[in-house]
Point group: C2
């Protein structure tokens, strides 16, 4: 159905099979640091049109691959498409981040949500299929979703926040109601990611952007538990041959690596305050690690970027059948980065990583 | 010179000696959630006048002790007094946080800094001495400072930031220059904390508010290293009898507990994403732990607050000669908290902690 995959470094590393060098991609690699992205974004008019028009989403997904030797493409979309499809109406105000026209403010608004969102979200698998064709087997395509907990924070807060007052009030005052919301979201995320696989996604990443704001016990109960449901739900609906590697990324989740591995995921995304070698020593055979350079390094000099890439590679050490490494930043690239520095970053991984593979 | 200390639970717990129950205090316990604080703040006119007038600093330090059975007072001051004394001129814009009139923008501005700041900062030991007398032995007085790294972030950025672009550019582009700044700050912080001890501070806390934004190797090189210099510098200038317990608190520092203990500090402050029982299992004999309830819990119900206090107490477990527990929030209390809920919090620690002490 799709062309044969020519560069399978990412998938092999995630399955812990031998590769010639460490694969590399970047969170938000299709984004505002690229002038060609800003041009397409301007052409689209607003951000949601960009996400909802498969041809435009495909165009921006492909842009970084024309410039850099990335080993993966990642679907261009937003983590908040599911709440939008549930009727909350996502919109963006310049400089203020995402907002919902109808945030969840009552118990009824939570009980009335339906996890049956794929009619509204047909544009996402359509984009996935189009991108797969356009990629023509060059590199694999990563699909993604926000985690149930992360989606819930935006749906209850109604917008970006630094304090999470509303969602934490709900968590501590009416945990049963929050569980209703998270169960609905886990079902929706499972359908959504299965639809992406069916349309052609070859790897999945779940972004738990806000798991790290929780206490240890709250993280287990309200974030990790529902990511486990999603991983299990996806894999139990697929044959062994249909399965794709699943990466879980909890920002600020360095304290929970053992627990994240225990969900059954195939790889753990790391942010940058954790040493990747120490992280590797904590998990057991059977999980790969993705990360973990501080995105701020891209704002500095070519020498500093190369030195930091070498440091991360050396810390992870040799690829093995127990754990593979996928090079990435510890969070998304920011809009102010010079595209030249991204080239330095990618070349540094290409040049210095073969020594860690046989 | 000062009245005998009647309530020594905090100091004994920090030295890992037996106590009847777990001591409790709160970061920012003298603060905007209290109407009497807001009244004194209004009387002072601006925030720096409040810090720089020992009588007013003493007044707000004492306020929470009149309401609650806290086991400690903490000097009312700001972590940015040292850079202010170095000539950067600290000021506050309502709703925007701290700013400097003269941030560090050149290498010369860094080389010209002097660590000899105590002439400018005489108001701090004066406030400490006044508070000690006013406390009249009721509870011990905690002195504090920002960590060298945390002070450097504000001095280079010139204000609060979420991205830390300037300080990280300096770190990656000219680490030698950043080391000059951090060495000067470590010397100043050491003088500053020794002066607080001499004036009557009975415990010290070093606030490393921004250590957690660093990569593992950068944290060791630019934050931890200088906190170690401060701890060593303080203790080597004191006789055994003069020593006071030193608490190091790195926000987001849960990955570095073993390394923080290795500085020679007496206690580690924990934020809330880490389980305090797991933290205890990671450190060795000879360090106490402080924390670690999510401050957001105080925004919920009395039942939820009590349940969360019990959870933290149970996770730490029994006090021992290897490790004592000081109950605290994982970060400062926020201005929107109902003072009634603080009473619930303190009473819960008082009522439920004796079971963990013999």
């Amino acid at each position: 159905m799709f062309p044969v995959l020519k560069n399978d470094r990412l998938i092999k590393s995630l399955w812990r099979e031998p590769v010639d060098r460490t694969p590399v991609w970047m969170m938000r690699q299709a984004g505002r640091y690229l002038p060609e992205y800003r041009a397409t974004r301007a052409k689209a008019g607003d951000f949601m049109t960009l996400c909802q028009t498969p041809e435009l989403a495909c165009e921006v997904t492909m842009q970084p691959l024309a410039r850099y030797d990335f080993d993966a493409a990642i679907l261009f979309s937003d983590i908040l498409t599911i709440p939008d499809a549930m009727g909350l109406e996502l919109y963006f105000v310049e400089g203020e981040g995402p907002k919902f026209k109808h945030p969840l403010t009552t118990a009824a608004s939570i009980h009335n949500l339906s996890s049956d969102v794929m009619n509204e979200l047909a544009y996402v698998p359509n984009a996935v299929a189009l991108i797969r064709h356009e990629l023509n087997g060059k590199v694999p395509l990563i699909g993604f979703s926000g985690s149930p907990w992360t989606l819930a924070t935006y749906m209850v807060e109604g917008q970006s926040t630094r304090e999470f007052k509303k969602i934490k009030a709900l968590l501590y005052e009416d945990p049963a109601l929050l569980h209703v919301l998270l169960q609905t979201l886990a079902d929706a995320v499972t359908h959504y990611l299965l639809a992406q696989i069916k349309a052609g996604a070859q790897v999945l990443q779940i972004f738990d952007t806000w798991g790290g704001i929780l206490s240890d016990s709250a993280y287990r109960e309200f974030s990790l538990r529902y990511m486990r449901l999603v991983v299990t739900g996806i894999n139990s609906n697929l044959t062994e041959a249909e399965r794709v590697p699943i990466i879980l990324f909890t920002k600020g989740g360095g304290g929970w690596l053992e627990d994240i591995q225990d969900t059954g995921c195939d790889a753990i995304g790391l942010d940058w305050p954790i040493d990747i070698g120490r992280a590797r020593a904590r998990v057991t055979d059977g999980v790969s690690l993705q990360g973990n350079m501080d995105p701020a390094v891209l704002r500095s000099t070519p020498d500093a970027i190369e030195a930091e890439v070498k440091k991360v590679l050396a810390s992870f050490g040799r690829h093995s059948a127990a754990s593979g490494h996928v090079f990435n930043l510890g969070h998304g690239i920011t809009p102010d980065i010079d595209p030249e520095n991204v080239a330095v970053f990618v070349e540094a991984v290409k040049n210095h990583s073969p020594a860690y593979h046989s």
